[in-house]
């Protein structure tokens, strides 16, 4: 069975290491924070100026001067730091953030990502996505393998306007875990009960399948 959003988030949480500084995008990536393994310290960055995102506030704790990049009210953990936007993106651009997790409309077999603009629909802007994908040392994309019409979102070439070129390293979809390699998408793991054939059928870009492909354990 394909993974649901929480399943994708749980699998991505296994990519975390103690002491990592991590930027989580809006949507499925945000859920990763719920599955940080016990005893592991992860410091979450919010690009509007915080290292050390805590849980949502209680009603009494709500503070309009304390929001995340999605403009939701949040809390700051003990040991947090606040800073301005240019400093925040210096951290990102300077390669000081260990891992960025974000969503995508499409990813290409060469690691291009399209995530911000759909022609014909109203454009809201790229926010920090272009800075994040161009800069992070390690980028994991959390996404659905196909669109609601069943068409692949893992393509030879992106059809939508790009957010970044050749930047995606790993994809965790509802069907599989894949790496972007110089030869195309490399299948690493498959969702429980999903066959290699199903993944091949759902992947338009070049897919490398070598040996037995283990099931994702979460």
């Amino acid at each position: 069975m394909a993974l649901d959003k929480n399943g994708i988030a749980k699998r991505i949480a296994r990519e975390l290491h103690d002491g990592y500084y991590v930027n989580l995008g809006i949507g499925i990536p945000t859920l990763v924070a719920n599955y940080v393994p016990k005893g592991m310290q992860i410091i979450l960055q919010s690009e509007n100026g915080l290292l050390g995102i805590g849980p949502f506030p209680t009603k009494d704790e709500v503070d309009p001067d304390l929001i995340n990049a999605g403009k939701q009210t949040i809390t700051a953990l003990p040991g947090s730091a606040f800073f301005d936007s240019s400093m925040s993106f210096a951290m990102i651009r300077g390669g000081h953030i260990d891992l960025t997790v974000l969503g995508a409309f499409e990813v290409s077999e060469t690691g291009d990502i399209a995530s911000w603009k759909i022609p014909g629909k109203l454009v809201k802007g790229m926010g920090g996505a272009m800075d994040l994908v161009a800069s992070a040392r390690n980028i994991i994309v959390a996404m659905m393998h196909t669109n609601p019409q069943g068409e692949s979102k893992l393509l030879k070439k992106c059809t939508l306007p790009l957010t970044g070129v050749g930047v995606v390293k790993r994809i965790v979809s509802d069907l599989a875990v894949l790496d972007v390699t110089p030869d195309g998408f490399k299948l690493l793991e498959r969702a429980p009960g999903v066959t290699v054939e199903q993944i091949i059928a759902a992947t338009e870009g070049r897919l490398i399948v070598e040996g037995d492909i283990p099931e994702i354990t979460i």
């Binding site: 651009r93 800069s135 790009l162």
Partner: protein, 230 residues
């Protein structure tokens, strides 16, 4: 030296139609509410506003949009605003979208006297169109240029009468970089204190960048998405 002005009306004196303004804030967090209200009450029009976002309907920069006072927005993200969408689709409003980190750095560069610099963000995308590219090591970078404004309008938590500013939590965001990049920088603060009452170790924006300062008469601090746990 007297940087203190009475109120927002006095602070915005000299802002004229067709000028370029920078306005601090991220979403509705840390926006100069009092100056925006004073601008909305004025006849100033044709403004180019450099601001990460464009407010929401009827609040923040949404107040200026509603009165058609803005000709062009330079932002990284402009969702959450129906009137904005309408004006954009009808061609009344021009929008230039810039990656958020590049926007912040362009403001900082404007204040720091750095006319251009290189960033990786946007390479190979439509953001790169018309911009020089250059390879450093094995990676490609875009040339980006500084941004400056006729007036930068920022909001701080505390400020002293010399214009030294302290921001609170994530309400700093774009305020610190923009405060550097205004030909004239206006700071509105929640609390205006006498010289000597702020710890010099804790100043975010040194007063040299600030020409006018006043204590805002009220702060609504509207929240866009109140998310809570039990």
């Amino acid at each position: 030296m007297n940087k203190v002005v009475k109120n927002a009306q006095e602070a915005i004196l000299g802002i004229e139609s067709n000028m370029t303004l920078m306005l601090g804030g991220f979403g509705l967090c840390g926006i100069p509410e009092n100056c925006i209200e004073a601008l909305a009450a004025s006849d100033i029009t044709g403004l180019t506003c450099i601001s990460n976002n464009a407010g929401v309907d009827g609040f923040g920069l949404g107040m200026l949009l509603r009165k058609h006072q803005i000709r062009k927005m330079i932002s990284s993200y402009v969702g959450e605003n129906k009137e904005f969408e309408r004006q954009l689709l009808s061609g009344e409003l021009e929008v230039e979208l810039i990656p958020q980190g590049t926007l912040a750095e362009r403001c900082r560069a404007g204040g720091a006297g750095i006319p251009a610099f290189y960033v990786p963000a946007g390479y190979g995308t439509e953001v790169a169109i018309g911009k020089p590219v250059r390879q450093f090591g094995d990676k490609m970078y875009l040339e980006e240029q500084w941004l400056k404004a006729d007036f930068a309008i920022v909001k701080a938590w505390k400020g002293d009468t010399n214009g030294n500013l302290v921001y609170r939590n994530v309400a700093n965001n774009f305020n610190q970089a923009m405060a550097m990049a205004g030909r004239i920088t206006i700071a509105e603060v929640e609390e205006l204190v006498p010289v000597g009452s702020l710890d010099p170790n804790h100043i975010h924006t040194p007063g040299v960048f600030v020409q006018r300062i006043f204590q805002g008469s009220k702060y609504e601090k509207r929240i866009e998405f109140s998310t809570t746990r039990e």
